[in-house]
Subunit: 182 residues, 2 copies
């Protein structure tokens, strides 16, 4: 295993209600020094759930994203509350965003977003054996829930509004795990 760079100094350089940015002075094992900026992570991490409505059908949500100022298709997701287990958070987000609970969750993988700048981790799950249960979320408007046939995955992947890397990774990992031909 390669020797990690030494962190010589960390400085909080910008801060808002939601984000903290720090400058990190690093000394690499070859003696090279650099200053990078990175975002302090939300420590609890996040979850994303690929919900199987039945063996032929996935559930998607259409949600507004302020970052892109657009509506896009994706899977239910959200931040883990303090003290909450990831599986519990996954089921809670499912209930809040698509109106179903899951009797069975299967972990796919833990992923990061852009390791150069962010530490945030997201745990990806599949959800099976769904039953109707709606929890109140904090969404500004009700999310549109869409049933998508697994046979039309290529169409989904070709859509410009299905573009979040974490949703794409979760979808393809799920189909691979279930040995669907993808």
């Amino acid at each position: 295993m390669k020797q990690l760079p030494e962190i010589l100094k960390r400085t909080l350089v910008a801060s808002s209600r939601f984000f903290n940015i720090e400058a990190v002075q690093l000394k690499f094992s070859n003696g090279e020094q650099r200053e990078f900026e990175r975002m302090q992570g939300y420590n609890q991490g996040a979850v994303l759930v690929v919900p199987f409505y039945d063996e032929h059908t996935l559930l998607l949500i259409r949600e507004y994203g302020a970052g892109t100022h657009s509506y896009s298709l994706g899977f239910p997701k959200g931040l883990i509350d303090k003290g909450e287990l990831p599986e519990i958070a996954a089921n809670r987000e499912l209930k809040e965003e698509v109106g179903f609970g899951a009797k069975r969750l299967q972990k796919l993988k833990t992923v990061t977003m852009a390791p150069s700048y962010f530490s945030s981790e997201m745990h990806l799950y599949m959800a099976f054996d769904l039953y109707p249960e709606q929890l109140e979320g904090d969404e500004p408007e009700p999310l549109e829930v869409i049933k998508w046939p697994i046979s039309k995955i290529d169409e989904l992947l070709a859509r410009e509004d299905f573009q979040e890397a974490r949703s794409i990774a979760a979808l393809l990992l799920a189909l691979k795990t279930l040995k669907q031909p993808v």
Copy 2:
């Protein structure tokens, strides 16, 4: 298509050498108002390349990420320079980070990172017909380049240090496009 929320106000709330964070006041079509924070994107976007060394072998790099303070495996990637075409940027990053140019690039998809907070887009490519050519990059240390057999993709996906969602999405999209059984 759903009516986009109206942006009532945008305020720059925090700023560093690398990041600009703005607060956005939104009015949704149902009348609901919210303030979200988002990061102003790097307008040129970024590229990521899945390099095929031969039909059985991919090239990976092992790179330090300041965000996670760890070394991880992934594909060559980087920001597009001003005025640079994405394909040119892809080939440049390939030459800088793995020491090969590509005679043929094939676009996989354009992805986003987390549409709630970021606008940044990344264009994913496959690279074929490689030839040795090293360009000087801005890396603090030489990147380790690893030949990975496509037959051992499951092993790669199971590794904790292969965890970036955009690399996973690109890999699985590439294999799907090439109709490898994944």
